[in-house]
Symmetry: C2
Subunit: 496 residues, 2 copies
Amino acid sequence: MENKLYVYNSKTGKKELFEPINPGHVGMYVCGPTVYNEVHLGNVRTFVSFDIIYRYLKYLGYKVRYVRNITDVGHLTESGEDKVLKRAKLEQLEPMELVQKYTNMFHEMMSIFNTLNPDIEPRATGHLIEQMEMVQEILDNGYAYEQNGSVYFDTLKFNKDYKSYGKLSGRKIDELFTETRDNLKNQDEKRHASDFAIWMKASDEHIMKWNSPWSVGFPGWHLECSVMSTKYLGETFDIHGGGNDLKFPHHENEIAQNIGARGVEPVKYWLHSNMLLMNGRKMSKSDGNTISPYELFTGNSEHVSKGYSPMAVRFFMLQSHYRSTLDLTDQAMQAAEKGYKKLMDAAQVVENMQYPGNNNNTTDIDEKILTILSAMENDMNDDFNTPKALADTFELVNYINKLKDGHLNFKEISIDTFNKIKDTFLKFIYEVFGFRKETAGEDNAMFEGMIELLISIRNEARANKDWATSDLIRDKLKELGIQLKDGKDGTGWSKI
Amino acid sequence: MENKLYVYNSKTGKKELFEPINPGHVGMYVCGPTVYNEVHLGNVRTFVSFDIIYRYLKYLGYKVRYVRNITDVGHLTESGEDKVLKRAKLEQLEPMELVQKYTNMFHEMMSIFNTLNPDIEPRATGHLIEQMEMVQEILDNGYAYEQNGSVYFDTLKFNKDYKSYGKLSGRKIDELFTETRDNLKNQDEKRHASDFAIWMKASDEHIMKWNSPWSVGFPGWHLECSVMSTKYLGETFDIHGGGNDLKFPHHENEIAQNIGARGVEPVKYWLHSNMLLMNGRKMSKSDGNTISPYELFTGNSEHVSKGYSPMAVRFFMLQSHYRSTLDLTDQAMQAAEKGYKKLMDAAQVVENMQYPGNNNNTTDIDEKILTILSAMENDMNDDFNTPKALADTFELVNYINKLKDGHLNFKEISIDTFNKIKDTFLKFIYEVFGFRKETAGEDNAMFEGMIELLISIRNEARANKDWATSDLIRDKLKELGIQLKDGKDGTGWSKI
């Protein structure tokens, strides 16, 4: 790989050398959430995947502008209702109250998983003028038509001129353009079943709507991403990411809109992350095969035997490549929890470890370690292969633990190599993999361990009729705010 | 007061009985931050003040819709530059990157101070269409005129018809309308010095601009609040809040715009919070008399002798009425820190206290306590008088501590009174005053106290040549991840 980054481009179906349009700079757009309910664990996987990609690009030294949108209008259900409006009605909230509520919850969840904030987080409702302008451009270029106040993208005309509709998702054009009775249902305004709305006339009772040259209405869902990505990243930008399920129709239509409006392909590299399964099957509310992030943290679900911390979940997600499906099982989570703990224990050891002396002679072991360090970068350079890069770090963990336990003598590696381990290992753990110390749990264990120790010393003292020590412990703890309670079954405690 | 809420209305200069437009519901709009730099402590005071108001209205049982905006465009400096653009240039960021950065930091600071999220947090850039529509309405009604692509509000014409311009801020109309050489500087497009822009034509190099019927430009800063408040709260709503410094011109112009567009007064009660001073003087960067929230937390400032926790600062802010100036001094902060600790210690005591038995006979003391409990509500009902209500809670703290120490016997108060203390006291502390347990500090003190205790027991054991105990403590602590280090000056410790 020679330190060059290769990424799998969904558009070409190939791994390609990553060469950003402006050397040193990367523009990356990722489709964000529609904020009408709590974020699903599957979506979390997508955002964690692109968080790693963002982090690694920064690690490589790129100046990255990462844009991830908030969809707060226009995303319709299959029956044609606006998702936000439908839920707002159910929760008896003003739509923007609903949007606020779930945007806040989304941000909280992203923070729990220690993902970095995007550099710009634009909202669909914040870009209505720009969306109307793009509708007008597409109309002016002849790739859209107006019907009763709505505007539709003309996929047939577009495909005739550009021959590319369906290319990203690999849909067969013929199938897309076949007009079956089913796909024409409720679509009598459209010329062809494959056409899609870029502006929709709103009914009277529709709340989120705006004046436009065509009608009082709202933009089609696909439009916002075409507009906001190019507004902040330029007409052609480097990376567009999102979940696999967005390839069609969302991303296919984004491309068509951008080309239809400006005549140029908007994206150089299309990156798509794969699905999260549970117990080998697709997650689905209807058959109960589902778990929410909080259920996973608390263990409050029939699908897990206990709760797992957010960082254990993050570790679990990194154990699979972003383009592979990932299967959540209780067993896999237990293994991830152990792995995460082992990794962070080693991080703690390395942080406090000092190399004794100043030896700079290298040995075979130096060479082995340097090979592992290169492998970490090489594996990440191979389309962000986190499972392999994680496995590499565990080879380092073995060396670190050997040094700690004295099974490997510091003299057997050079100070340079030691410093490289320290530097790269910690950078990968904190900056690239994005793990965070979950100290609360550890501190609690210490806290409880110390109280138990004091209680056992006190019991010993009482057995020896050493009342001075016994009273000292009870009184001193009380002073600190901890009350000991002697009972039949031994001594308990509580905070006062 | 008889349990009725009175609020001081800046518009009338009187305390008025609070009667919301829709019984049971309150609509409240508060001017939020311009997100071009870190939020100042003075702004924090404003947002904490309205947080208390929001919380108390909810405590009273109102269903409140609290709207607080984010200004991300159009707020100009005195020399006429857009604040966001000016700073974006300095930081070499795209304006929306800057907006994202400081919006995130603002949210973080609000969370540190434990303020509740508003129900809707609309952005100026998210409401451009609505702002253009209001410009058009004002033009249609004859209260604005266009000049070279910009649109100005005609204050003279407005005042001739409505005779109310300047009323909120108490400015003398004559002074406002006097055309001095100074106030006409660079204002050659305006008919009168007191007129203000509601739409501004943008120069070529201006980045944040949009197509409009008058020019490619951007809205005047005052317009967004007129638009977003009435969009989400109705053409006339209950409460409009903000800092005193916003009365003129911002709020005065808001009123003019709303009346100019729709003919109705937008706000029933105008509430304004007062300034935060330091050492008796206005905070000001230019003369060094300033402190940032983080400097106050860490103590990293010449103006304080040590750091103070966010909740101690919140306590300090509540010790003054929101309409009074508040003077930050190191001495006042030390007192606030002590007061806060005393209050939260009492909360801890009450939470764990159980009333023994079932006595329901009342005494004089019951009566005294019930009077205090009423006073807490009465004082808050008197225009949210937090310093008085806080003082009331400290009278309860005295009773609580007497019960704890046995200086007051539970038999001297009834179980009903006890339950009322417990209920109201805790509700005021957590829900109304919005304090949060700062456990990290307390837990640390316990943690360190226990280690010190174990070290002193070990020293005693070593003096007695009780090696078993001494080794047990050292080994057990190591197992927990705490390393003891014996040295000349005694025994230290560190986490491994």
